[in-house]
Symmetry: C2
Subunit: 141 residues, 2 copies
DNA sequence: TGTTGATATATCGTGACACGATATAAATCA
DNA sequence: TGATTTATATCGTGTCACGATATATCAACA
């Protein structure tokens, strides 16, 4: 079993704080970009999770909950908001009527394409800095 | 000026979704760890930002706001909760009485040491996977 | 020096979102 | 078939950030 050191250096705290700061800047960029399109950040992440999903099973509330790491009943509420906003269609799965299969609307697809394009650019911009921070944290000082 | 491609491949969406999923898992780990200590995640991040700060200026509400990427008045509320919980002391800066200088209490320092130790372990565990995802996204396909 | 504008922080009302507790319907199993 | 599990939904609650606004202090300058 791997033991955590008892003492942490100032540099350790600084490195962790810098990592968080970098992650926050990305999240802040992302949230702002989505807000400019009138889309709350969680709804954006839900759309991306649906669009980027490559599983065997159909995309359902339960699968989405796993991807978003939130409870199924919270996902149900989130999907409800997405359906109201016209971004997702929800249909009872004939193979298992308890399940609701989810699909993006054309409008959501357009919106997500725009957002994903600028996100790709931003990620590529941020990646080198983030990789360096992570590499530094790998070292045991 | 750099143009975003008009079309995005399924693989692009998948890569972005996977990146988000990895980041969410880290945030979920972090939030859970803090919650187990009875500390809301934002308060944890505030403590880390204060502890990891290496600036010339003293740590104040305004500086903390910059680090957390939230508005100063939101930071004021957050610090208020931290003071109530006994994690931070707030003092009027003699050099500029508008400013409030912030310091961690011993209790916060202990708590943050425990949390940071397990975070270091978790970051080191997550880093290789994250670096790979980021490297993949660097490629223009 | 007194006035004016900028800066730093605080307060209050509002909205998004996740959760716990609970409910219902459908599937599965004994 | 009855009991249990699974999938989703609903309702009330708490956290947290924000916009609008307020107050105190500092800075610039006529």
């Amino acid at each position: 079993m791997k033991l955590a050191r008892e003492t942490l250096s100032d540099a350790d705290y600084e490195a962790l704080a810098n990592l968080r700061y970098t992650l926050r800047r990305f999240m802040d960029f992302s949230t702002s970009a989505a807000q400019e399109e009138g889309l709350p950040s969680q709804q954006h992440q839900a759309l991306l999770a649906i669009r980027g999903y490559r599983g065997e099973e159909p995309m359902t509330i339960g699968v989405l909950a796993e991807k978003l790491l939130i409870a199924p009943h919270s996902t149900s509420e989130l999907v409800h908001r997405l359906v109201l906003a016209g971004y997702v269609t929800r249909r009872s799965d004939p193979a298992d009527k308890r399940r609701q299969t989810l699909e993006l609307t054309d409008r959501a697809d357009d919106l997500l394409r725009r957002l994903s394009a600028i996100h790709l650019t931003e990620v590529r911009d941020m990646a080198p800095r983030l990789i360096e921070l992570l590499s530094d944290l790998q070292k045991d000082r």
